[in-house]
């Protein structure tokens, strides 16, 4: 039962983490699955691959990935496609990390554009680089993928975690009562 309380606590951790990131563009919500083994209840976390809603921003350097795949920025993978040009003309995210193309950071000249297949072209149509993406994935420019957290279901998860915790506590108290009886009442000599 103590493991059930721990599990409920992990579920709350995940639900609040998801809720906190309901406005983080490109955020993928964490999901939990519970299973029971010899050591009690265990929580497994995984990241949802569900596509987030697409929000139109009309800024030419906002890129939304439709399908699988991620942007590589500074050695990390992200789905947040809010890029700006930095002072050296490279595409960079809000943390200043540069977006990687096939070989190194992508330099983005004036008037260049990103095509739906991820290729970056100059205004004259000359190919510069390509954002590496798996086949079948498209890029939409002027839009951002919003967080795929569903605030309603996460609020329910918060409630559910709280109630499971409460239930587990009640059961734990009941077990404690039983043991109390066994230890103090059963063997008592009248």
């Amino acid at each position: 039962m103590a493991s059930a309380m721990r599990a409920a606590r992990s579920q709350l951790d995940v639900a609040t983490q998801n809720l906190a990131n309901v406005s983080s563009d490109g955020f993928r919500r964490l999901t939990t699955t519970l299973d029971l083994d010899a050591r009690g209840m265990r929580v497994h976390q995984s990241t949802s691959a569900e596509q987030g809603a697409i929000r139109r921003t009309n800024r030419p350097l906002d890129l939304a990935i439709l399908g699988a795949g991620t942007f590589r920025v500074g050695g990390e993978a992200t789905r947040n496609g809010a890029f700006v040009r930095d002072r050296d003309g490279f595409l960079a995210d809000d943390r200043g990390r540069r977006l990687a193309g096939r070989c190194g950071p992508i330099r983005f000249p004036d008037g260049a554009s990103v095509a739906p297949d991820g290729s970056v072209q100059t205004a004259a149509g000359r190919f510069i680089d390509r954002i590496p993406l798996p086949p079948g994935t498209r890029i939409e420019t002027g839009a951002l993928e919003t967080s795929n957290v569903n605030a309603i279901s996460e609020s329910l998860n918060v409630l559910e975690a709280q109630r499971s915790f409460e239930t587990a506590q009640k059961v734990l108290l009941a077990i404690d009562d039983t043991r109390n009886k066994a230890a103090n009442d059963v063997g008592r000599i009248q």
């Binding site: 809720l19 906190a20 983080s24 050296d88």
Partner: protein, 242 residues
């Protein structure tokens, strides 16, 4: 438990900041040349440890073109395309897209806050002023028409999003934005000037109202998360009965 509480609290702080920025956008929806700002948020990742909540990546201005509107001002200018007016006050340089200027007695062209538009000087006896799409300024004086009176240059930046905001409409260069690149409007550049027009703010009232509602509900949901974490602590404390 504390992790859940801190994650939820970081979500509340983020939504609070979000609301402040949206409110500021709405308050300036009627200010010519105002650029709406947005905050972006991301989950906190500390060496693979998950569940540390969210953090703000900072506020930046969105340089999306606002609608051009005919205005009645004596020296109103609007930029159609990318770029900024170069203005100067007390030796300090700044950049703006707010083009509501007027003539000063000393011949300079200034906005309401006293910032002087660089590159142009209007003679005191000028009867009529005209600015072409390429920024060339012509005046009609007694006895002479179409006299050149300078050319308005614009500045562009490689990373305008990193400009430092002095106000909602006035910006200065920062190390991250790069140095200003001065260019002539027209002349093959995609940017042109429109005289007698003003650029309206690029704030969308409908979108801002929607954003306010979303932020408010998200704030509430995070507050519930804090409450739930607190409630769990209470329940855990009740395990010890006296």
């Amino acid at each position: 438990m504390n992790r859940a509480m801190y994650a939820a609290a970081s979500g509340m702080a983020a939504q609070q900041q979000n609301l402040e920025i949206i409110a500021d956008n709405l308050a300036n929806a009627d200010v010519a040349g105002f650029k709406s700002a947005a905050a972006s948020f991301a989950d906190v990742n500390a060496g693979g440890t998950f569940g540390l909540g969210t953090e703000s990546l900072g506020k930046h201005a969105l340089f999306v073109q606002g609608k051009l509107e005919k205005s009645g001002g004596p020296f109103d200018l609007a930029i159609d395309g990318a770029g900024f007016f170069c203005v100067e006050k007390d030796g300090q340089f700044a950049y703006t897209r707010a083009g509501s200027f007027s003539r000063s007695p000393d011949g300079s062209v200034r906005n309401a806050d006293g910032w002087r538009l660089r590159g142009v000087r209007i003679p005191a006896d000028a009867l009529r002023v005209d600015v072409g799409g390429d920024g060339r300024v012509f005046v009609d004086r007694p006895g002479a028409t179409h006299v050149a009176a300078g050319r308005i240059d614009l500045a562009s930046f490689l990373a305008p999003e990193h400009l430092r905001a002095l106000s909602g409409t006035l910006f200065t260069a920062s190390p991250q934005s790069g140095a200003p690149q001065i260019f002539h409007p027209g002349d093959g550049a995609k940017t042109t000037l429109a005289f007698g027009m003003l650029e309206k703010s690029n704030v969308s009232i409908v979108e801002s109202m929607m954003a306010i509602m979303t932020a408010q509900r998200a704030y509430e949901a995070n507050a519930k998360g804090v409450q739930a974490a607190d409630e769990m602590l209470r329940i855990a404390n009740n395990l010890h009965r006296s």
